[in-house]
Amino acid sequence: MSNKTKLIVLSIAALSLIMVFLFTDVKGNWDYIFRSRSEKIAAMVLTGCAIAASTVIFQTITNNRILTPSIIGFDSVYMLIQTFVVFIFGSTTLTMMNANVQFLVSVGFMVGFAVLLYSILFKQEEQTIYFLLLVGMIMGTFFQSVTSFMQFLIDPNEFFVIQDRMFASFNNMKTELLLVAGIVIALMIGYIVSYIRYLDVLSLGKEHAINLGVPYEKTVKRLLIVVAVLVSVSTALVGPITFLGFIVANVAYTFLQTYRHSYLLVGAMLFAIVALVGGQLVVERVFTFSTPLTVIVNLIGGIYFLYLLLRERKAW
C-alpha cells in the first residue's frame, strides 16, 4: 500500500467516525444535538491537529521519538496560570472571566515561557537541545510544586474549579474559543507547511542539517515557538492532553514508514482525530460518560510508551 493510499484510508476512517458521532443515536431535539455535537467535533479536530503537529515537530527537532512537548513544562505553566488566578482573585473570577481574554492571556504566558527558555538555550551556542529539555523539565517541576502549594492553601470549593481544568474533557470545553483557536491553528499549520522540507532534513540531526543548508538556529527557534503556540491553544481549549501526541506520532511513524513530514504530519493528525472521535464515542455510548477520555488515552498511551521503551532498549 502506498503512503497516499494509507492516508486516504485513514481519512475515510476519520470521516466515518465523525459521521457516526454526528448522526447516530439521536434522541430528542435534533437542532440542539447537532449543534452541540458539531462543536465537540470541531474541538476534537482542532485539538487533534494541534497536538499531533506539535509532537511530530518537537520529536523531529529533538531527534527523539519518546519525547513530547509536555516535557518542557507547557502543561504545568497552564495549570500554574489557572491556579494563580483562583488563588489571587477567587474562583468566580476564573469562571466569570471573558473566555477569549483568558485564552489569550494563557497562550501569551505559555509562549512567553517558551521564548524565555529558547533565549536561555541560544544565548550560549554550545548548548544542545538536551540542555533545553533539562531546563524545561526542572522549571516544569518547579511550576508544579508552586501549583500544588497554592492548591493546598485555597478553599476546597475553589479547588474543584481548578480540578475541572486539570483534566482534558470534551464535555466541558470552551466552545466560545473555537473560532479563535481555529484561526490560530490554521495560521500555525500554514506556517509549518513552508518549513515541511526543512523538517525532513532536520530529522537527520543538527550537523547534517547545517551541512545541507538549513539555517539551523533560526529554523529551530521558529519551529519551537510554533510548537508552544499549538500546545497552548489545545491546552486552553480542552486541558492538558499531550500523551495523545506521543501515541499518534509513533503510530504514524510505524504505519507510514517514511521520513517525509508531508505524510507524517497529515498521518499523525488523522490518527489523532480517529483516536479522539473514536475515544469520545466509546466514552459517551459505551461507558455512558462514566470515564473521562483522558483516562483512556493515558492508559493506552502509558502501555504503548512502555512497549516502545522496552523495544528501543532491545534495538541498541
Binding site: V201, G205, E207
Partner: protein, 252 residues
Amino acid sequence: MVEVRGVYKQYGGKNVVDNVSITIPTGKLTSLIGPNGAGKSTLLSIMSRLIDKDRGEVRIEGKEISQYKSDELAKKISILKQSNHIAIRLTVKELVSFGRFPYSRGRLTREDWEYVEEAIRYMELEDLQDCYLNELSGGQRQRAYIAMVLAQDTDYIFLDEPLNNLDMKHCVQMMKVLRKLVDELGKTIVVVMHDINFASCYSDYIVALKNGKVVREGTASEIMSSGVLQGIYDMDVHIETIHDKKICVYFA
C-alpha cells in the same frame, strides 16, 4: 580558496584552536594531522561552519562564511563528521538523495537522481542501495555517508576521519576516490587523518597541528621527515622510502 585567518576557539578557558591561520590550496588534497586533542576536528568544524569561532575569519572564495546564505554555502562546501548517528530509518538511496537537498529542496529532478546514482556507483554501493542504514556494517555505512557528500557535488569537501571503520581495502579505495575527485573533477578536499602513511601517500599538502596551533605545513614530502614528525608526535619515528612513497615506521 579557503583562507583561515587568526581563528581562536576556547572551551572551558583553554584554547582548543589557538590563532590558526592557514590557506588551503585549491584543487589539492590537504590532510590535517596531529596528536589527539590537537584541535584538528574543531578546526575542520569551524571551517565548515558547524561551530562558531570565537575570533578570526574563515573566507571561502574571498567571502567570510558567516556572510553566505545557508543554502548558497551548502552548494559550495560539504562536511562529514566522524560519528554519524541518524535517528530515523533510511535506505542508502534515500540517504544519498538527501545530498541533493541544497539544489532541489527535496523534490529531486531527473538530473538530481543521476547525481545520486553516480555517487552510489562511485562508492560501490549498488548492491546495498535499498538496504536500511541500520542493517549495514560500520564501513558500509561510512561509504553511504560519503556517497551523500559526493551527491552534494560541492567544490570544497571537508571530511573528518573518512577512514574510520574502514578495512584496508576500503581505506585504499576511499583515498583513490578522493584522489580522483581532486585530479579529475578539480575538487578541493580537506581531511582529518590519523594514519600518517595514508596522509603521506595520498595527500598533496599536509598541515600539522599541536595544542591548537599550526606547527608545520608543507607538501607531503616536506612533512614526511623524521625530524618534523618527531616534533609533532613526541616519539621516535623512521621514514623509509618504499616504491617512491615515504612511509613512516613508528612501531617501536
